[in-house]
């Protein structure tokens, strides 16, 4: 019990930190000290100072503001992608698990085939072909992401389907849609959501990797991966333009990964 209590406290702390991070980035408009897009010829590659807490980049843009705005892009894109894969995957998984039969066989065969592809290789090729842009990168990663959700949802639905209360609902004349929405969905939400949480870190790594390669966001939109990629060229002169977005990326990924880990542990205890 003590262990559970300890994990609970950790979850609360991590959740608060995540909320703080979300607040900081969604509220970038209020917190950012400067305009992230305003270039300034007078302040090119300024070292961190009071006006520019994280310094400025090659065009004299405030790195701090760009990190905040960039976080918004990265986090929003990640959340959106995970949420869509979660939705599609869970939906497919539930249908497969509940109805079974030919539908299940066909969809799961597709899932097997998708799983047999090397994910990042496909993502790079697809993002490259779609010609850059955030939506392209998201499609490229999403192609393979729904599978894990579908499999998880399917296996849980499979177990749930044979529970007595589902049978009872069927005998009571409830429709399949009603049973799926009211009885099955709420019961498989916890494990599938936990999976979603653990996917956030990986997705963020994937997205910022694609942006770094120039296959993600298109400048001038700020994003951590592309900021690092841009500033890499003049890292000798202005290391802060790389280090701060790098630090932000690492911290965010660690935060989400840790939250996912702790919640997994909590559910296991």
């Amino acid at each position: 019990m003590k262990k559970k209590q300890r994990l609970k406290i950790r979850i609360i702390i991590m959740s608060v930190l995540v909320l703080l991070l979300l607040l900081l980035t969604t509220g970038a408009g209020w917190f950012a000290p400067n305009d992230p897009y305003a270039t300034s010829a007078a302040a090119i590659r300024t070292a961190p100072c009071t006006e520019y807490p994280f310094g400025t980049d090659n065009l004299g843009r405030c790195v701090c503001s760009r990190v905040l705005y960039g976080g918004r892009t990265t986090i929003a894109a990640t959340f959106f992608l995970v949420a869509v894969s979660f939705g599609i995957g869970t939906f497919i998984g539930m249908l497969c698990g509940y109805f079974g039969g030919a539908l299940d066989r066909i969809l799961m065969r597709i899932a097997d085939i998708v799983l047999a592809f090397p994910q990042m290789v496909v993502a790079i090729a697809v993002a490259g072909i779609l010609g850059g842009g955030l939506s392209g990168a998201m499609v490229a990663l999403g192609i393979t992401m729904w599978v894990s959700f579908a499999r998880l949802a399917r296996s849980h639905t499979f177990v749930l389907k044979n529970e007595a209360f589902i049978k009872a609902a069927l005998f009571a004349g409830k429709s399949h849609i009603y049973i799926l929405c009211v009885h099955i969905l709420p019961n498989l939400l916890a494990p599938v959501l936990t999976n979603a949480l653990t996917q956030i870190g990986t997705t963020m790594i994937g997205l910022s990797g694609l942006s770094f390669l120039g296959l993600g966001v298109v400048p001038p939109v700020t994003e951590w991966g592309s900021m690092i990629s841009e500033a890499r060229a003049y890292i000798q002169i202005a290391p802060w333009a790389v280090l701060f977005p790098a630090l932000a990326t690492i911290m965010t990924i660690i935060l989400f990964n840790y939250l996912g880990d702790v919640i997994m542990d909590y559910r296991e205890v």
């Binding site: 047999a116 990042m120 790079i124 910022s208 991966g225 890499r232």
Partner: protein, 308 residues
Amino acid sequence: MIQKALKRAAGFVVILLILSLCVFALLYAAPGDPAEKRLTAQGVAVTKEVLDAERERLGLLKPFFVRYGEWLFSVIRGDFGVSFKDDMPVGPKLFQGLKNTLILTVSSLALSLVLSFVLSVFSVLRKDKITDHLVRVLSFISNALPNFLISVLLMYLLCIRWKLFPVIAKGDLQGLFMPVISLSIPMTGRFIRQMRAEFLNQMSQDYVTGMRARGVKMRYIMFNVIRNALGHIFTIVALQIGTLMGGSVVIETIFRWPGIGKLVMDSITARDYPVIMGFVIIMGSIYVIINQISDLLGHALDPRGAEE
């Protein structure tokens, strides 16, 4: 036995056909015109007639399935078609790149495996002691590091701050060091986490209790634990190959390592379709083959449940 092998081979071919067809269709439907790219790159003024002539020459005007069929045939021939960029056969370029990529990825994989194996065994033996905690924290952090970030940070520290290595890698051993480290760090983190979990899972099995109760020496127990974990470890490694391939594209681009990943990144901007297709099909086959092998190895190592 032969039937099983045939079934696997058929599955392999089907997966690759589907993969290539998907990417081919995507290339077909995607925006961007290779003919136009090529002409602009050559500095030719793009007019409607010139463009159409170029398209005709590159075979872009043929129907979809004819083009796919021609491409498939070129794969069977082994030349993977002709580059849109310089009219050279793509095959030799791809295989030259693949050779370099394999040097890079195989050495990173070897390094990661050795490191993670030693560290996770160490961590399991000292469970809940300081060393274990240290290994866990380090593996957790390195698992969270995207490899492009590691390479940028390493470059900054080692090449610029401490001036230990040249900034641009050459194809020699010294040039191999930084890319290999950048690829290995996150992979090692991932391997340690998974191996440690599997070793602990094996340690909690009843047979370990039984062996302890018989007073079997720790080194024999550890040997049994590792032996039983091997099947699972092969699966973990095989699944990581995909991530490793993606990572090598990033790393090759950063360090200008002349591998297949850098080749494909150069080709993406030029819309050099045969190179992109060749990349996907070669990486896809390697990935699928490795996963099949690990599957077979898993069955050989743990014959339980193999009778189905």
